[in-house]
């Protein structure tokens, strides 16, 4: 296909695929932590950035203008550290805080190597400048592994400069100076000084050669691998302005943007004259847009004196849409068509190991068993609590923006391209983000705000309504899996055939987030294995959703594994451990960035089973289910103990998470992510789905899209972390994929009913109040 013929929609999907590819990029993290300096430097590798100045207006880069104090004049040691005379250490967190606790974690890593007094350390959002900080996105659970070496070196370099300053002043050997809690000491001469008193001199010291820096070993850590409070929590609980939607600037206006409810529709006409006369409305105009859902689709902007006036005018807006090229997608038709496709296994295999046909034939002739099953799951929305928004201000030839985004550097480039401006003329301030879940890797709302702001005098806050947020999401794609598996006469997994019916935006390749999850394969090591894909054309935008691909595909895989274990008459845990330890060289990861390890997988499965009391006798109607996954560089197993009453009401007694994510930077934060991922996955599994009819989204607010609430949320979610001696990897996503299959497997154990489709409420299951479980 020529590039001219490629549709805007397909180009938009290409952009998301590239974005996801970039977000997934990981340094090699498969080598154990080593006290050896040499090994560390090798790990640091290419792409390491350690800026030694702070870019523009540091100190004024608080999340929102009203939260910004006066720009600090205290000495800048490097782009991550500044130290005030009163001994307050400020550490700059380079990545967006979306609820994953990264601001606390990144601050801790720098403070650890710096030997800063954590009680007197302030963590602030770093300015957005990729030239200084390198990659500044938050996605794919990669922020910590990407920043691990960079931040440790930043902390160690700052400490070395403080020591050099002290050594010069005290005329002593720098090697004899020790550091603790933002204070340097020299035992022999009994001298001691705070970092604050040395900062001015330290800032004048030459930047040390990074290769000479000695990083701490695990035994020397005072902060890492412990529990910490969130650095922004005191401000969060007092309602201080931190989020994108909290930005307030003098003389600002408020905007809404209305797009066609079916993706791809264009504006024919609108009652703009009427709208402009409504109270509080400043202006209303049509925006043609770039035609890409990732940038700006056609629509009508309304500018008003406050959000309410803008919302009221939006309600009164009447737009005639040209839907000739718009989506006519129907989710029920997709499901029916997928079943038709699944009747024929495609001639072109995605992968082919061993001889699946022979294996199935052998099984029939011998004592093995064949199992076949159809699994499916729907489209789901991100539905983050803070609806999409951006404040943009076109002034002095600069587009200045405050954005709750997961991807500020890509957003900056995208805005510059959309406006036809050089990138230097786009200034991005990163705000705190009221929920990411992958949605805010996209910067469509940011581009819209920029285009609107070009036509408005003064700053303008574009605020999406909750309905806009549902209708114009980039959904987690639905998926359909026809599975056929065989266990041999010894009860071992022998063959796995999978036909995945999914979506395409361009007719050639899976749409973003719609292909086989790249890490899924490692959890299924069958000596005979064949996978195929069938693609159905989709015109509704899809994209990354917390643990893309894995978040749903593990449901099919891990439930089917349970089915096979039962068919084999084997204990489920034994069967899983046997399957992950099979030696099938063709299926072993070739890429050194993949840290998958059968030994690490085995240890999390075993730990999870042990903590959950696997094998214990349970009363009638009570079941224990287990599943595991390898996702986003983490190995995680989950067990769920639940009971089901006669009305199919489920009481969840206990959830156990066993994870190996290498070194745990902040134990409280990692545990939070484990608990949150369990609740999120359970919420999706029980009752969430986005239905499309004639290209339109049916669920447009929380009343139609039931997100789990406190009374039915599990009261006991325990998280255990395996100390495997590996460097840290992320925790935002890995604890999500195995939860839904663990729940379904537990429901089977309790009732004998196998749930092969999400959401489970379609089979009559609901969650009972958990108060009874306490």
């Amino acid at each position: 296909m020529s590039s001219q013929a490629r549709s805007k929609f397909a180009e938009s999907d290409d952009y998301i695929r590239d974005l996801m590819q970039q977000a997934r990029g990981l340094p090699a993290c498969g080598a154990p932590l080593s006290p050896q300096r040499r090994a560390l430097l090798k790990l640091a590798g290419a792409g390491l950035v350690l800026g030694f100045y702070l870019p523009h207006r540091a100190g004024a880069d608080a999340e929102t203008p009203q939260a910004a104090g006066k720009a600090s004049k205290s000495p800048v040691i490097n782009a991550f550290v500044r130290i005030a005379p009163d001994n307050t250490v400020t550490v700059y967190s380079k990545a967006p805080e979306i609820g994953q606790g990264i601001k606390t974690a990144l601050g801790l890593i720098v403070a650890e190597e710096l030997d800063a007094d954590w009680k007197r350390t302030v963590v602030e959002q770093a300015p957005i400048d990729a030239k200084v900080y390198g990659y500044q996105g938050a996605g794919g659970s990669t922020t910590i592994p990407r920043a691990w070496d960079q931040l440790r070196l930043a902390g160690a370099a700052a400490k070395a400069m403080l020591i050099a300053a002290a050594a010069k002043e005290w005329k002593v050997n720098p090697a004899e100076i020790t550091a603790e809690d933002s204070r340097l000491s020299h035992a022999a001469s009994q001298r001691s000084a705070t970092y604050g008193s040395l900062a001015e001199a330290a800032a004048q010291m030459p930047v040390p050669d990074l290769a000479t820096l000695k990083l701490k070993t695990r035994g020397e850590y005072r902060l890492l691998e412990r529990r910490h409070r969130g650095v922004d929590d005191p401000r969060i609980v007092r309602g201080q302005p931190l989020f994108g939607t909290d930005v307030r600037l003098p003389g600002m206006a408020y905007a809404t943007f209305t797009k066609c409810p079916a993706s791809g529709g264009k504006v024919k006409s609108a009652n703009l004259d009427e709208i402009r006369k409504l109270p509080g409305v400043i202006d209303a105009f049509v925006i043609e847009g770039t035609g890409k859902p990732t940038e700006v689709m056609p629509g009508v902007a309304i500018i008003a004196k406050n959000t309410w006036a803008a919302f009221e005018a939006k309600d009164a807006l009447k737009v005639a849409w040209d839907e000739s090229a718009a989506s006519k997608d129907s989710s029920s038709q997709f499901s029916a068509r997928a079943r038709e496709h699944a009747k024929t296994f495609p001639a072109n295999f995605d992968s082919n190991v061993g001889d699946v046909d022979k294996a199935f034939a052998n099984v029939s002739n011998h004592a093995g068993k064949i199992v076949e099953a159809w699994y499916e799951y729907p489209f789901v929305a991100h539905a983050s609590m803070e609806p999409q928004n951006t404040t943009a201000w076109w002034h002095d030839g600069i587009m200045e923006m405050w954005v709750p985004t997961q991807q500020p550097d890509r957003g900056k480039t995208l805005v510059a391209g959309t406006l036809g401006l050089p990138e230097e003329q786009v200034v991005v301030h990163q705000t705190r983000v009221g929920g990411g879940f992958g949605r805010r890797l996209l910067n469509d709302y940011m581009c819209e705000a920029a285009v609107i702001a070009r036509q408005v005098k003064g700053p303008v806050l574009l605020q999406w309504t909750r309905e806009d947020d549902f209708v114009h999401d980039f959904f987690r794609p639905a998926g359909y899996h026809q599975l056929k598996g065989a266990v041999d006469k010894d009860g071992r997994l022998d063959a796995w055939q999978e036909h995945f019916v999914t979506f395409t935006a361009d007719g050639r390749q899976p749409a973003s987030g719609s292909g086989y999850s790249s890490t899924l394969a490692y959890a299924c090591i069958a000596p005979n294995l064949r996978r195929a894909l069938t693609l159905m054309e989709l015109k509704t935008p899809v994209g990354p959703w917390r643990a893309p691909g894995s978040c749903a595909q593990f449901f099919a895989q891990q439930c089917f594994m349970h089915e096979l274990a039962l068919a084999a008459g084997r204990d489920h845990v034994e069967f899983l451990i046997d399957a992950v330890n099979r030696d099938v060289p063709e299926l072993a990861p070739k890429n050194p960035q993949i840290n998958f390890s059968p030994a690490r997988a085995t240890s999390v499965i075993k730990l999870c089973a042990e903590k959950a009391g696997w094998g214990k006798k349970l009363p009638k109607s009570r079941g224990l289910g287990l599943a595991w996954c390898y996702a986003h560089a983490g190995h995680v197993a989950q067990a769920v103990e639940l009971s089901v009453d006669a009305d199919k009401r489920i009481t969840i007694h206990r959830v156990v998470v066993a994870a190996d994510i290498g070194l745990v930077v902040d134990v409280a934060g990692a545990e939070s992510q484990a608990q949150g991922a369990c609740v999120d996955a359970l919420s999706v599994a029980m009752a969430q789905q986005i239905q499309l009819e004639n290209g339109r989204v049916r669920q447009r607010n929380y009343n139609a899209y039931p997100i789990l609430r406190l009374p039915v949320a599990p009261s006991v979610i325990e998280a255990y972390f395996v100390d495997s001696g590996f460097p840290p990897t992320g925790m935002g996503e890995p604890a999500l994929p195995a939860m839904a299959p663990a729940v379904a497997n537990a429901i089977f154990a309790a009732t004998g009913e196998r749930l092969r489709a999400m959401p489970f409420n379609q089979f009559g299951y609901t969650l009972a109040g958990q108060a009874s479980a306490l």
Partner: protein, 150 residues
């Protein structure tokens, strides 16, 4: 012109009677701690106290408030239970993204105001109007219990 009593202070605002209190707080008065999330009173992010009781400010027309006292997240820490709940939230490392937490804290405080030692069933009932998309419920429940003990 509408006169309101918010966080103990008198305010006069130029707003239509049907404008929800939420937007008066956020856009006209700059009190942005109270959050917009659903606009239909289904998620609790906009919770405030009206005469000490939890109310959804996103569906409460400002013209109907009258002389009743409004308390928002910005001032709830000045009340004994509000301060206890906020501290329990910090100590219990409750927040993830944090967007829903001002609303959760307002409801938890209202609960302790009327039921100093709530049972699990009391907590369920008081917190059922809220959504936390990050799923911090385990810690919210525990933080309320801890606040009740202090």
């Amino acid at each position: 012109m509408i006169t309101l009593r918010i966080n103990g202070q008198p305010y006069t605002v130029d707003a239509p009677e049907d404008m929800p209190l939420l937007w008066v707080l956020r856009d006209l008065l700059g009190l942005s701690g109270t959050k917009y999330a659903c606009g239909i009173g289904r998620c609790g992010a906009c919770a405030v106290h009206v005469d000490g009781k939890m109310a959804h400010s996103c569906t409460l027309p400002v013209g109907s408030v009258g002389k009743r006292a409004i308390t928002t997240i910005e001032a709830i820490g000045a009340t004994p239970n509000g301060a206890k709940v906020q501290q329990a939230w910090i100590d219990g490392e409750v927040a993830q993204c944090g967007y829903c937490q001002p609303g959760q804290i307002m409801s938890a405080t209202a609960l302790l105001n009327r039921t100093p030692h709530p049972s699990d069933a009391d907590i369920d009932e008081a917190m059922n109007g809220h959504i936390c998309r990050c799923g911090t419920y385990v810690r919210i429940r525990q933080a309320i219990k801890n606040a009740a003990k202090t």
